[in-house]
Symmetry: C2
Amino acid sequence: MAARRYDPERRQRIIDAAIRVVGAKGIAGLSHRTVAAEADVPLGSTTYHFKTLDDLLVAALRQANEGFAKVVREHGGALADPGADLAAELARLTGAWLDGDRPGAELEYELYLAALRRPALRPVAAEWCEQVTELIARRTDRVTARATVALIDGVCLQVLLTGGAYDEAYAHEVLARVIDGPQAGEPRPDGETGSPRRGRAG
Amino acid sequence: MAARRYDPERRQRIIDAAIRVVGAKGIAGLSHRTVAAEADVPLGSTTYHFKTLDDLLVAALRQANEGFAKVVREHGGALADPGADLAAELARLTGAWLDGDRPGAELEYELYLAALRRPALRPVAAEWCEQVTELIARRTDRVTARATVALIDGVCLQVLLTGGAYDEAYAHEVLARVIDGPQAGEPRPDGETGSPRRGRAG
DNA sequence: CAACGTTGTGTACCCTCGTACACATGGGAT
DNA sequence: ATCCCATGTGTACGAGGGTACACAACGTTG
């Protein structure tokens, strides 16, 4: 089966190392040499598998995105359940992601935001954004889904930029406003932890 | 006084150059040498005025933040007017900022987001965030203000990351949900001109 | 007026980076 | 078995980076 000296595991190890490096020193600290050292492979190996750093970044971002997807898979079962409170589910999920692996979340965001300046990263960033929107759009309309993603992005950003703690109740409250906005007044079927009618503001 | 050779204008020119450099090549392309070249000053001059690059970044971010403040000053007169539709005002303002000077907006965001990894930048980023929140909080409660800022951040991020156009109607719509959410379960009038009573929760 | 120290400038050093390229290895075709 | 080339590795080179430090200019002070 083909693989004579071809070693896919090596490539994977380099990506893992790249993610660790970015996590530890940021994208600014990423270089062929630093990943090579971290992955314990020769310099030539990194340049062989990834002609340019952008290629490596793309692979890293792609893999990092799996982090959130994994959280969704593990904790997001109720997401698809039409009976569940979508805003509460999302708030809980975001919390699980943020608190469960904060460095990982920071890393994913750094990679994600890097797309701002690196055209090579844009497609994969956009793709991820689209996927999440799609996921949420199964429970509402597309406009609401997009706005929800934007809001989550903003909330996470504030948390990460200020280094503060994630406030799930707050997130739930404001997410509910965006999500329930279009069909306002209609009480939600499931009470959950909070009142279906949000009457108090923080 | 007595500053015959003391030249504050020189320092300012370096900051301006740094902003131009970041705008053109991103933070990754920023170095003492590149700013020196851009500002047409000797290399030693940049290191003299800014011991470290972070210092320069801080100054640049601080000045870049003025960009949005300026837009607020010029186009945000109605912001303070309690009779105006806050969501509409913010949507308009954001559009003016985004479309009026897109490269500038990109640059400000890059600087702003850089705080994620550079502790030195966090205080000034947080400060700016706080200022905007404060500004909006004059028209609503703090929780709503914070959420509004988060949403605007997220929307801008989506626009900038995808390179797409800013949709003011969309922004208005979702901003209204967050802003008007707390006080009423009543459906918003689709005609956005008829501004429903804003008003604070509490 | 002259010496001195603060302020500003120019240069040189050493480091790390990406890239190029010569060299090793081993499976598959003949 | 032998040759070939995709696969993988090690090293050297030029570019550009931050920093250190010697030097120039000028205000101050005795």
